[in-house]
């Protein structure tokens, strides 16, 4: 059953802040959005709450002229955010593409919150998503009692966004079956949604647009047709740019997850995190950090999220089977498992890496031996 229209109802205000596990962006950053709105002097596209300049500032953070500090939502290349905002301003649909864990959904939520003040018009893409999630469904009880009428119609987030001139968000677009994806083609080009049963149609109001996110590693799940792809401007969100940025992310997440899981091990030394992140980055980039040696890349993603899970499994090993201190031998199995996804190709890649890089690296002997043992 569809939930009551979010954003508009009184229910959201009744809920106390503490009871909610996670607030919507526009609620959590209400103050920032408010200050930006008051100080926004730039022209706005029709139905936008903030101007493109203010949206960019909201996402990238920084100090306003009056000294108010905006927290950065997206840390990374400023130009990508500019392209995303400019895309939405030209009423082209935006596709945020990238590896898992590159803040695609996060960026999409904050863009919607800043541009329309409402990030809740969300379609969660799964293999089971059907047309009614994108177009409209029927309240069958009503339908049986009254026959087809607008009251029996269950409006999808997409339809609501069209009616209100807001942004609809589609998560994991590539997981939606291809025939359901096709319904988007006409919505994006004609900007209308006909309801033939009632002889009605919804014409999108100005300000309507779509932000979709998709994962470019799981290609082939339901690859976008070129007709659909053509209707999107694609922005690829990259992995963390520098090793320090990535180490920082891993460190924070490992610490917070370790607490949540109550692992009986000490927080890992930053040096261990640096080693794991270095290995991941080097294999992912196909080059050593010093840029001197090129390497083969394995088939897996080796995302930051996987580095976090390697650290966590290492901590669990150290805590339950070791002496409570994270050592190379606790990491070796996890590392090998994360890297060797294809038993033939990846094994060659990992062996080559061990032989040509790890073996001769200062202070990495323990890791080399440990990894060789599990191979």
């Amino acid at each position: 059953m569809p939930k009551p229209a979010p954003g508009g109802g009184a229910s959201a205000e009744d809920q106390t802040l503490d009871a909610i596990l996670r607030q919507h962006a526009e609620v959590q950053y209400a103050e920032e959005l408010d200050v930006l709105l008051k100080n926004d002097t730039h022209p706005r596209p029709p139905n936008w709450v903030l101007s493109p300049w203010a949206v960019k500032r909201y996402l990238l953070g920084g100090k306003l002229a009056n000294g108010f500090e905006i927290a950065p939502k997206y840390i990374g290349n400023e130009r990508l955010i500019e392209i995303a905002v400019a895309t939405l301003a030209t009423d082209r649909a935006l596709l945020l593409y990238g590896l898992p864990g590159t803040a695609k959904s996060w960026t999409s939520e904050h863009l919607a919150a800043a541009i329309t003040g409402d990030s809740t018009l969300l379609i969660q893409g799964t293999a089971g998503t059907d047309e009614s999630a994108i177009r409209y469904g029927w309240n069958y009880a009503r339908l049986l009692v009254d026959g087809p009428s607008p009251a029996a119609l269950v409006v999808s987030p997409m339809m609501r966004a069209m009616q209100d001139g807001k942004l609809a968000r589609i998560e994991e677009l590539t997981r939606i079956p291809a025939e359901v994806q096709d319904t988007l083609i006409t919505i994006l080009s004609e900007k209308t949604l006909p309801v033939p049963e009632l002889g009605l149609e919804t014409q999108a109001r100005k300000g309507f647009n779509v932000i979709a996110t998709a994962n470019n590693r799981d290609k082939g799940v339901n690859e976008l047709s070129s007709a659909l792809m053509r209707r999107f401007n694609t922005v690829i969100l990259p992995l963390p740019a520098t090793i320090d940025e990535e180490i920082d992310i891993v460190d924070r997440r490992v610490a917070s997850l370790g607490q949540a899981l109550a692992l009986p091990a000490e927080k890992p030394a930053l040096e261990e995190i640096r080693r794991v992140v270095t290995i991941f980055r080097e294999l992912r980039d196909g080059m050593t950090v010093d840029g001197k040696t090129k390497l083969k890349s394995p088939t897996g993603t080796l995302s930051t999220a996987e580095a976090i899970s390697v650290m966590n499994s290492g901590l669990a090993m150290a805590g339950y089977y070791g002496d409570g201190v994270l050592r190379a031998s606790d990491l070796a199995a996890g590392l090998t498992g994360a890297i060797v996804k294809d038993p033939v190709q990846d094994r060659v890649v990992w062996l080559e890496y061990l032989q040509t890089v790890v073996k001769d690296r200062e202070g990495w002997k323990d890791l080399y031996r440990a990894c060789h043992e599990v191979l």
Partner: protein, 747 residues
């Protein structure tokens, strides 16, 4: 009488447009252009129909051609437009910079360090004035600022006044010019004064924007004629030669000649050529390139790309999209966010490959002079007659000749063709060449001059270029070998680095294996040619380690053809190892081969060849060979695989296998047990396997098999050793004293 100073940026299309408009309005009767007066005599050649930009004025020292400066020009260079204006109206058109003959003489130390790869540059003022202005205007990048302010401007009136004022403000805060720059500006002023004294009515001066304030003669702060004359008096001079050479767009992108290189000549050319709707025309061209490569680029997407570029420009507060916005819009809309097709856009459009041409009347290029000088010194004749040359590399002159010929070969000037070294009876010291000079070489030399002014410099630069563009490993190692033969140490580093990089990412182990022989060949030559083998060994060992890791997986599931090529690759590694004579490598290699022959999943031919190699190395004993033969030739193995195995084992010298009784027994049993169908199927393979032996060996093999059938009772064949023959030690001992005397060892 009036003097008009037009401050331009070199290679700026906006400046060129503004300048053309200004000249048309001024109608000057004398033009002074920033450029080397040394090239005054050859400047009018630019009006020839066969002169096609991009070209460069090249000024060099005739006795040391590696010391040179380049002044590149392209269609949208303001200087080029000014020259064209001057020569077409036949008004006096002069270069008025400080002559390079003086600049060379004044700064020998500085220019001597410049190599041809990084041509000497007239000094650009530092700090960059435009960077200061851009910073003041809040731009992170001064290119972007200048492009926005000057180059993209369609309305060009008053530009020169504005540029002049900006430069005046900048230079007011800067220290007065020193050294070379002071001399250059003094020389420019003296030229203006000379032109004024000749009673020209309207003098137009075209120079880099930075110099404009210093050329205001009426300004009180400007040094007087007397001071300038004193400054320029008695400066040393050297003889220089000037000529035109063809240039390329990608080399315009380098910092060369005028000091300020431009990163995207294609974009500037577009700004220069597009009459209107710059953004739309650009995107249409991008779409054409993408379509030509078979990538989707619909008209609808071109529209969207233009809209996005314009929206980005608006978001960034620009009046029209610049190259950055174009680039980002193209990537986002037309290339679906992907990086790879953008490289195509970068080389095809943003840089835009173009090679200029110069008229035949152009004076000889320095590369030809250098070649002629070397050819005389080394007493090599340039004739169309075919001559054979035997070079003994122990002699200095022959070694130098060899270097020269190899370097020319790298530049694709095949004056000499090497004979296979194997054909020379005299060993590795000798190199046999066939020499023939061809007329086309003259053109090839002019073209090659782009890379450098001496044969060595040009070959180095070209080899480095090749190294950065070649992607397959065997080609790279072949290039490495060439570079070593040509003794180009600088290029060698680049090629080595590239080989290492490509080896690391090579997906095909066979490429790694085939890359080894040229490397080991080069390593073997190092002693003769006094180059360092120390450089090569790490590369060889890195390649070899990867071969060891990758060989087993690479041998899996090969079809007949793939197996045949794999055996060639294995042979390549084997030859390389024989050359290297490194016991550790050899042991590791034999270890891997031993695993190959045990692996049932590997094609029979490959396993047979590996068995053979191990047998020859003495690793595989007769007993083990027999075991392998029984497995490979058992009825459980498909007949074709078994036949392929036999073919592999028999490959090479017949004598080695003749002694292996176990092998023959297994073969005999297998053939006898084959069903009629299978026998017919295996027959062609077996025939092929035995066809390589000559009749006498085949005869002995036949005899051997015949005796095998009378199991054990037959006497051993003469000439073949058998494990079962009892030796009469007492009688054998009798021969020892004689043998010792023959061999010259004491007992």
């Amino acid at each position: 009488m009036s003097v008009h100073i037009c401050g331009i940026r070199h290679h700026g299309p906006g400046s060129a447009r503004a300048l053309s408009a200004a000249l048309a309005a001024l109608q000057p009767d004398c033009l002074l252009i920033e450029g080397p007066p040394d090239a005054q005599a050859i400047a009018p050649l630019m009006m020839e129909a066969t002169m096609q930009p991009p070209v460069a004025l090249l000024i060099y020292l005739p006795d040391a051609p590696h010391r040179a400066v380049y002044y590149p020009f392209t269609d949208f260079s303001p200087e080029w437009q000014a020259l064209r204006y001057g020569f077409s109206r036949e008004i006096p058109t002069r270069f008025f910079d400080l002559p390079q003959s003086i600049q060379f003489a004044c700064a020998p130390a500085e220019t001597a360090q410049q190599t041809a790869a990084m041509p000497a540059t007239p000094v650009h003022p530092s700090p960059d004035p435009f960077a200061l202005l851009a910073e003041a205007a809040g731009f992170p990048d001064h290119e972007a600022w200048w492009e926005l302010q000057i180059e993209q401007r369609q309305d060009t009136t008053e530009v020169f006044t504005a540029v002049h004022e900006a430069m005046q403000a900048l230079r007011a805060g800067a220290p007065p010019p020193q050294g070379n720059e002071a001399l250059r500006e003094a020389s420019m002023r003296q030229h203006i004064r000379a032109a004024m004294s000749e009673n020209f009515q309207t003098i137009a001066v075209v120079c880099g924007a930075w110099h404009t304030p210093a050329l205001q003669l009426e300004d009180a702060a400007t040094p007087s004629a007397k001071a300038d004359a004193a400054l320029l008096k008695g400066l040393p001079r050297v003889t220089v030669t000037a000529t035109w050479i063809p240039w390329t767009n990608s080399r315009l992108a380098l910092r060369s000649g005028y000091g300020a290189g431009i990163t995207s000549p294609g974009w500037y050319a577009h700004l220069w050529q597009a009459p209107d709707r710059v953004t739309i025309r650009w995107m249409a061209r991008v779409a054409q390139v993408l379509r030509a490569e078979g990538l989707d680029a619909s008209a609808a997407n071109v529209i969207e790309a233009v809209r996005l570029a314009e929206a980005l420009a608006a978001l960034r507060g620009l009046p029209m999209p610049g190259l950055t916005e174009m680039h980002e819009a193209t990537q986002t809309v037309l290339c679906r966010g992907e990086e790879t097709p953008m490289r195509l856009i970068r080389t095809r459009i943003e840089i835009g490959e173009a090679l200029g041409a110069v008229p035949p009347a152009t004076p000889a290029v320095p590369l030809l002079r250098d070649l002629t000088a070397q050819q005389r010194r080394l007493r090599l004749e340039m004739t169309a007659e075919i001559k054979t040359l035997d070079l003994d590399q122990r002699k200095v002159i022959d070694l130098t000749r060899s270097y020269l010929l190899h370097r020319l070969r790298i530049l694709q000037i095949e004056w000499g063709k090497p004979y296979q070294a194997a054909k020379s009876a005299q060993g590795t010291f000798h190199e046999i060449w066939q020499l023939q000079w061809q007329v086309e070489f003259a053109v090839a030399i002019i073209e090659a001059n782009v890379w450098g002014n001496t044969v060595e410099a040009a070959a180095t630069a070209y080899a480095r270029h090749l190294a950065s563009t070649t992607r397959t490993l065997p080609q790279l190692t072949a290039l490495l070998h060439q570079v070593m033969l040509a003794a180009l140490p600088t290029a060698l580093d680049d090629v080595l680095a590239q080989v290492q990089d490509q080896a690391a990412v090579a997906a095909d182990v066979r490429h790694l294996m085939l890359a080894l022989p040229p490397l080991t060949e080069a390593a073997r030559y190092t002693d003769v040619r006094q180059t360092k083998s120390a450089l090569l060994l790490p590369v060889i060992s890195a390649l070899f380690e990867r071969v060891l890791i990758g060989l087993l997986p690479a041998c899996q599931s090969l079809d007949d053809d793939a197996a045949a090529t794999m055996t060639e690759s294995i042979a390549a590694v084997q030859t390389s190892l024989l050359r290297l004579e490194d016991p550790q490598f050899t042991a590791a290699w034999q270890g891997i081969l031993a695993r190959v022959i045990d692996d049932e999943g590997i094609h029979g031919l490959v396993r047979g060849v590996c068995c053979r190699l191990l047998l020859e190395a003495g690793i595989l004993t007769s007993v083990e060979l027999e075991r392998h033969a029984r497995h490979a030739l058992s009825s459980a193995t498909p007949a074709t695989q078994a036949a392929a195995w036999i073919e592999g084992v028999l490959r090479g010298n017949g004598e080695v296998v003749l002694a292996q009784d176990g092998l023959w027994q297994a073969l005999d049993t297998w053939v006898c047990d084959l069903s009629a169908d299978h026998f017919v199927g295996a027959l062609p393979l077996l025939r092929r396997a035995f066809a390589q032996f000559d009749a006498s060996v085949r005869q002995r093999m036949g005899t051997k098999v015949k005796h095998l059938s009378t199991a054990g009772t037959a006497p051993p064949l003469p000439g073949t050793a058998s494990d079962h023959v009892p030796i009469d030690v007492a009688r054998a001992d009798l021969t020892l004293p004689i043998l010792a005397r023959l061999l010259g060892v004491s007992q």
